[in-house]
Subunit: 311 residues, 2 copies
């Protein structure tokens, strides 16, 4: 008996991107897929319900992109290495959380904060791009750890969410600050112990002289730099010496082996109401391009995802 | 009986410096000192035999200098806190070594390389400003550790010393390289595990994309930046993420407690002939200004010091 063939819409990259990506760089294509797996193989055919949109995807649009995470963006995907999949152990929680707080963004926040930033109770923590999928969890984990937490974001609405929804001690709209250095001095009169770096550029340059002795800068991403052909430099890296600062990059790939521990801990916090989640959910694969491109103009409020099919 | 009074020549800073310091910024002054200590005090009067000249001293010439190492530059110094002095346990070695390889520069190299860089046998190590007091020891410690070691310096003579005297595997004259990135690719076709950073600026920018996975950048100093009113930025810090690079500053002050262990180990290497020393010795306190300023135009070959009085 022949397996059913169905149409399979997907979003592909039409051309390599330099500068800021636009919706014209992506294309919605319609293919056909047989709802079957090769006989005798361990492959599985997956019907995708949600697609995650993340800043790191910008890198995959460049011609000389570095090895990065993989993710198909289509209605159906044949998974040929199912051992690479993660089991969902908490189906009682919203499934969409597994694209964010319980998925790669969540593990990024968890690993980066605990393993790289190495926080201590009472530390002064600053998070840029703080309302995003990673930032919002880092901030809440920092509060749970007993840190003083300040975030920056690009709109008053986001700043309000940081303070009211995620429990940040303070937050500011970087677009409204004439002088980022002054904003940081106002929020951190005693300096910053941990900077969770998501943006780079001018923010990093402002943060460096405001770091405290033995401070840590955890470099998760630098979204301000991804679309620049000539990236900015931080002109005051010499601060690293006198203040004995450790600045360290990391990739969530290295932490996949710790997923179960992470999932249990975060699922627990979610059920206890200790962690809140803000998602920005678009509807339909036709809207993936808009949602993904919107990340770079900071249109999203919280974790950006797209519903491809309903559960 | 009254203590003898003698003249005490010293070098002082005449004015705060912006940009490149010149000999006009320093002044030789002649004072008078009583060769006695206050009755009942633990103070000691020291006749200085050698004065060390180090790049970090540039920072102390700036108006808004950060807390840094202290050192008087004069013929006689009253030391009011003798407990801060280090005992010389190996007087059989040249006393001048205690300004360099057995002094602060040596401890800087030792602590920075072993405690911050955390080398492993077989690591690819790059050292900038490699013929200087710190660099020359880092390179030799790296060779003792079983690393592959390349250094950069600013003259063919220095490059030759690196290869023939200090046993570096390779070295290059950065002033003769049109493209620092190409020079690093030639010397490190498989990339760099450890960069011992003494210069900053364009060299750091060239090093970043040549780092290997899990590389370490130990930030000891950034001499190329000290005289710039508008320091350069490294435009490619995003390399830290994909390659999981740790970039960390340190100060030798934090390692004074490990001095004895360091002194024993290095004194042993010196006696076994496993470590060579190149010093650039000027004569007389009248020549301190020239020697110190010469550091910033890279006139010195090896550790710069000045003999103030003969033993």
């Amino acid at each position: 008996m022949a397996a059913a063939e169905v149409s399979n819409k997907g979003v592909i990259l039409k051309q390599f991107v330099t500068g800021c990506p636009t919706e014209d760089d992506l294309e919605l294509v319609t293919g056909v897929v047989r709802l079957a797996v090769p006989p005798g193989s361990a492959s599985v055919m997956v019907k995708n319900l949600y697609v995650s949109c993340d800043p790191y995807m910008r890198n995959r649009m460049s011609e000389h992109n570095e090895a990065s995470y993989m993710s198909g963006c289509e209605e159906y995907t044949l998974i040929t290495d199912p051992e690479s999949l993660f089991k969902i152990n908490h189906p009682e929680l919203p499934l969409s959380y597994y694209t964010g707080v319980l998925g790669m963004a969540g593990l990024t926040a968890y690993a980066g904060f605990f393993d790289v930033s190495k926080p201590k109770q009472g530390d002064y923590v600053f998070i840029s791009s703080a309302s995003g999928a990673v930032g919002q969890l880092v901030g809440q984990l920092a509060k749970i750890t007993g840190c003083y937490v300040v975030g920056s974001a690009g709109s008053d609405e986001k700043v309000n969410i940081l303070k009211t929804k995620f429990g940040f001690d303070d937050a500011f709209n970087y677009k409204k600050e004439e002088d980022l250095n002054a904003a940081l001095k106002r929020c951190f009169p005693r300096g910053i112990d941990i900077y969770f770096e998501n943006v780079g550029g001018a923010m990093l340059a402002a943060v460096l002289p405001n770091m405290r002795m033995n401070g840590r800068i955890t470099v998760c991403g630098m979204i301000s730099q991804y679309n620049l052909e000539q990236p900015n430099g931080a002109p005051n890296l010499f601060c690293l010496v006198a203040k004995r600062i450790r600045m360290e990059g990391f990739m969530v790939l290295d932490y996949f082996g710790t997923y179960n521990k992470f999932e249990e801990e975060i699922a627990g916090y979610l059920k206890e109401g200790k962690i809140s989640v803000v998602e920005d959910v678009a509807e339909g694969i036709e809207n993936v391009s808009t949602a993904l491109i919107g990340l770079f103009s900071r249109h999203n409020i919280g974790k950006q995802l797209v519903t491809i099919a309903h559960e």
